[in-house]
């Protein structure tokens, strides 16, 4: 029996000491869907993803990844996940191709040199194969990190602000890659601060603030639902209501600390 949801997060709470970063968050990601997690800085997006990845132990709630409980069966849950972390690095002394070989191996899909070079060719980094990872530019490192997230053809890909630092070409290429994942029937959970990105690639989005989900819907439905709210109209510019206007109206104008 196959569930429609590849990821189910139910009543999730995460805290750091006494501070509750995520409170009673529930949402689910369906197979064949790109799901966006939006929220201001410090809203709890990365903390939510960390709990799904098993890096943090939740204070409460349950997380099912492809039917596997992320706490009780972490290895099974993680085997279905491809991950790109918001802040991370690979062994800086290893060559790019060696980093790729390492991750192919630990995800159980060992690859030969020709396969690895093929993957680098896809992201136009074949020439950099023998460079040390630490010698790549920030955007190039990001591209390597993203290609590693999908190296084992995972059922669910978690991307934490993947397009930060990418040039427009790479960003478009990433969107296409994400859509290709969806078209295979797999799913993507992506966080972003770009409302343009959310509108153009996400099938559904959740807005999260102060550790709580405040809205879940398709981007269009969210705009339609709130376009006549006075708060939304007040922040809209040039007479057109965008997802960004709705986002700002829902989460408030104040810049987060």
């Amino acid at each position: 029996m196959r569930e429609d949801n590849i990821l189910t997060v139910d009543d999730l709470s995460v805290s750091y000491g006494k501070f509750n970063a995520v409170q009673n968050v529930s949402f689910s990601v369906r197979r064949g869907e790109i799901f966006g997690l939006l929220g201001p800085n410090g809203a709890g997006k990365t903390s939510t993803l960390s709990a799904v990845e098993g890096l943090l132990k939740p204070q409460g709630g349950t997380i099912l990844v492809d039917g596997n409980d992320a706490v009780a069966k972490p290895l099974h849950a993680r085997a279905s996940l491809g991950v790109q972390l918001q802040s991370t690095s690979f062994q800086t002394e290893l060559y790019v191709i060696e980093v790729l070989r390492l991750y192919a191996g630990i995800y159980g899909v060992p690859m030969r040199k020709a396969d690895l070079l093929g993957i680098l060719r896809e992201i136009n980094l074949e020439d950099q194969a023998m460079k040390k990872f630490g010698e790549l530019s920030g955007g190039q490192q990001q591209r390597v990190s993203l290609v590693i997230a999908t190296i084992h053809n995972p059922k669910l890909v978690l991307l934490d602000e993947p397009t930060t630092g990418l040039d427009p070409q790479s960003r478009r290429q990433l969107w296409e890659r994400i859509e290709a994942i969806r078209d295979k029937g797999h799913a993507v959970l992506i966080t972003t601060h770009s409302m343009e990105e959310a509108e153009s690639v996400c099938d559904r989005i959740a807005i999260i603030d102060h550790g709580r989900v405040i809205a879940i819907d398709t981007p269009q439905a969210m705009v339609d639902k709130h376009c006549n709210d006075p708060e939304v109209i007040a922040v809209s510019r040039r007479g057109r209501v965008t997802l960004e206007d709705v986002f700002i109206a829902l989460t408030g104008k104040a810049v987060r600390g």
Binding site: A79, L85, T88, S89, E93, L94, Y103, G105, I106, Y107
Partner: protein, 248 residues
């Protein structure tokens, strides 16, 4: 379709390959761990007629083992943790112990390499040669001693997160071992000698020296071995208990 977890053997093989490559790329730093042991072999040669070869060789190996556990292991763990390298590995479907097992295997290989280097220089320059059993037992005692300093290194990265602070601390501890442990042996005071003998420096040196002449292995050596294991277990338990995979 049931998701399958990668085979442990594939995971370990892949991790080992990456960790050995990293160690190889850092070979300059690795060679530095040999500097003090070689200096001991070179300058203490004159003492061999009085102290015997094993005394000099064992001091040389101890200093090498301390450098591996503290400077090599602690620093690399602290640095990689700070960069988030462990966090990325940990979201893969592999167990935490496999990440550490691979790291430690590289260090055990380093222990064997340093011991071999001391054997070679000790043989060619200091003209100290051991029986086959002596070499064999010394490799074993070197691993036991090396594990103690690795555990100590683990304890330091368990307590301290900032890689610069870890680096400063391990240098200080290394210096203390040289001044207190190594030099302490030459202080003309029975109390100091006693303390040094049962310190984490002295017990390892004792088991190394007796390992080089297994026929002379006595009760004292057995107690030193037990004390070494005791130190190692205490440090390892605390080091693992305190250890956090991230610095945030």
């Amino acid at each position: 379709m049931e998701t399958s977890i990668p085979k442990t053997s594939t995971v370990l093989k892949t991790l080992l390959r990456a960790d050995f490559t990293t160690q190889w790329r850092n070979r300059r730093a690795t060679i530095l761990t040999l500097v003090v042991p070689v200096i001991i072999l070179a300058t203490w040669k004159v003492m061999i007629p009085h102290t015997g070869g094993p005394f000099v060789l064992s001091n040389s190996i101890v200093i090498g083992l301390i450098a591996i556990g503290l400077m090599g292991y602690s620093n690399s763990i602290a640095r990689d943790r700070d960069k988030g390298i462990f966090q990325r590995l940990r979201v893969a479907p592999i167990s935490a112990w496999s990440i550490m097992a691979s790291r430690l295997t590289v260090q055990i290989a380093m222990i064997l390499a340093v011991t071999t280097a001391v054997f070679i220089v000790g043989n060619s320059y200091d003209k100290v040669s051991l029986s086959p059993a002596g070499y064999l037992v010394t490799y074993f005692t070197a691993v036991v001693g090396g594990v103690l300093y690795l555990s100590l290194g683990q304890m330091i990265v368990g307590r301290i997160k900032n890689p610069e602070t870890v680096n400063a601390t391990v240098r200080l501890v290394y210096f203390l071992f040289i001044m207190g442990g190594m030099m302490g042996q030459f202080v003309d005071s029975p109390e100091v000698k006693q303390i040094v003998q049962w310190s984490p420096y002295g017990t390892v040196r004792t088991i190394l020296a007796f390992g080089m002449e297994p026929s002379k292995w006595n009760n004292n050596a057995s107690i030193a071995l037990l004390v070494t294991l005791g130190y190692a277990v205490v440090c390892a338990v605390l080091g693992i208990k305190w250890f956090k995979w991230n610095t945030k």
